[in-house]
């Protein structure tokens, strides 16, 4: 064994070293120099060619996890096709262009090879589960280098402010002053944002769910369907999130409730709002329910001088499932307040909630919602939070609370009627 090793390995190496360590006897210095020089060129050319080959889109999507997930997502965006015909490929954004960091990134890819070999992310489901983690890595990288890879093409100094909308120009100029990282505001510009569908489930754990009792008031924790009677499967509309209802009766799995609100006397009057002249949605009814006298009772009518529209004060009697109701609405507002601060401060300092009035917030909110990823329930909750804490209501909280206490002390109404928070 040892003899064979000596014979096959050590002896040739020894003789190789002997040849290399003494001056060449037969090869001219010129031959050695030319051969080394040419090989040097061939090697470095080959090395860079190979490096470039790993820096192509074809190479990136040769792996299934890229081809079936992030690649099709890119194809729906402006970075794939646009009027100028310039497009970004994977490495343009995801591989640093500077040599040192490029090589470091290539070595990092060994982790991706490991993942591909052992199937860490070999199904779309596994990819979705990892998406937030993977996106966070890229976000951290782009935050640290102030979106260097974006700025290889886009530069603040070449932006033509006149061509932007006034709002965009204002935001962009202040970003340019601070040389802000592009992804501070433009996360999700080339791929889907990680899903935050878990938000509303967090909401369910943030408040305690109450078992409804007859004669008490509760708030809707998640948007829920309403029904005309105890057994109907056909939905008669939807209750909006954080809407206060007064439970009037209970039956198997469902509660009968009364909702008080205002609606415009135009069309079919399907939208029930919290307050006179203010578009804060409490519920959206089907046409059938909205026009049924058994469901909707008109208490009074009043003309809104601002719009000239007639509003009706109404009560709505319907049924809903007895799940997802709470008697603690303040937990929901805390959740909404935190979500508002976290989501909106990603891009800009969020305005004071009382900076706008209740009818201005929906337009502001819907204009910005495309920049963040909130599920439907959370969107509705945050909007309602903003509206109910807007300048329309700011300062009148104490008063409302007083009214609330008074009406609680004087049981003059037969039915408990939902009061505005």
């Amino acid at each position: 064994m040892i003899r064979r090793l000596t014979q096959n390995v050590i002896r040739p190496l020894k003789s190789l070293w002997k040849t290399l360590s003494r001056p060449a006897q037969y090869l001219s210095l010129g031959t050695i120099a030319i051969a080394s020089f040419v090989m040097g060129i061939i090697f470095w050319g080959g090395f860079n060619t190979a490096l470039e080959a790993t820096n192509t889109e074809a190479f990136c999507i040769s792996c299934h996890s890229m081809r079936d997930t992030v690649y099709p997502e890119l194809q729906g965006t402006v970075h794939w096709s646009n009027h100028s015909g310039v497009r970004a490929t994977c490495p343009d954004c995801h591989v640093p262009h500077n040599w040192t960091h490029k090589i470091a990134r290539k070595m990092q890819a060994s982790k991706e090879v490991w993942g591909a070999v052992f199937g860490t992310i070999d199904t779309p489901e596994k990819f979705e589960a990892k998406r937030l983690e993977l996106a966070s890595h890229e976000w951290a990288r782009l935050s640290a280098n102030k979106s260097l890879e974006c700025k290889n093409c886009h530069s603040y100094s070449s932006m033509k402010w006149e061509d932007m909308s006034p709002l965009a120009a204002k935001q962009m100029k202040s970003a340019a002053e601070r040389d802000q990282s592009c992804i501070d505001c433009h996360k999700g510009i080339a791929h889907h944002l990680p899903s935050t569908d878990g938000r509303s489930h967090q909401l369910l754990t943030a408040v305690n769910i109450s078992v409804p009792e007859v004669g008490k008031n509760y708030y809707v924790v998640l948007q829920k369907p309403v029904f005309m009677n105890a057994t109907s499967k056909e939905e008669a509309g939807m209750l909006n999130i954080a809407t206060e209802i007064a439970v009037t009766d209970k039956s198997d799995g469902r509660v009968e409730f009364r909702l008080e609100g205002w609606r415009k006397r135009i069309g079919t009057g399907r939208i029930i709002n919290e307050d006179f002249g203010i578009n804060i949605k409490e519920a959206e009814l089907t046409k059938e329910a909205a026009q049924s006298d058994a469901v909707v009772k008109v208490l009074e009518e009043k003309v809104d001088d601002v719009t000239g529209l007639t509003w009706q004060k109404v009560t709505v009697d319907l049924l809903t499932n007895d799940s997802e109701l709470t008697d603690n609405v303040s937990g929901m507002w805390e959740f909404a307040s935190t979500t508002y601060r976290e989501a909106c401060s990603q891009c800009h300092s969020q305005p004071e909630v009382a900076h706008f009035d209740a009818n201005t917030w929906p337009g502001m909110f819907n204009g910005m919602i495309a920049f963040v990823n909130m599920d439907d329930d959370t969107q509705n909750l945050v909007l309602k939070y903003l509206q109910l804490h807007s300048s329309t209501y700011a300062g009148s909280h104490a008063q409302i609370d007083d009214q609330h206490n008074q009406s609680a002390k004087t049981p003059e109404t037969a039915l408990p009627v939902a009061k505005r928070q």
């Binding site: 060449a24 050695i32 090989m39 990092q108 102030k146």
Partner: protein, 51 residues
Amino acid sequence: MNDSSSSRRQEYKALALVIVVFFPLLTIMLISSYGFLVWFSQLLLGPPGHG
């Protein structure tokens, strides 16, 4: 003849081995370890900054 031609062959073989196989492999290993070193330093010090 035998002796000189065999050592001539040995010199060609040695040169070829060194410039075609040994040095390229060594270079790739050096560059890789440099890359890994930079990566590990990034793990410790955070991703590279700007400018």
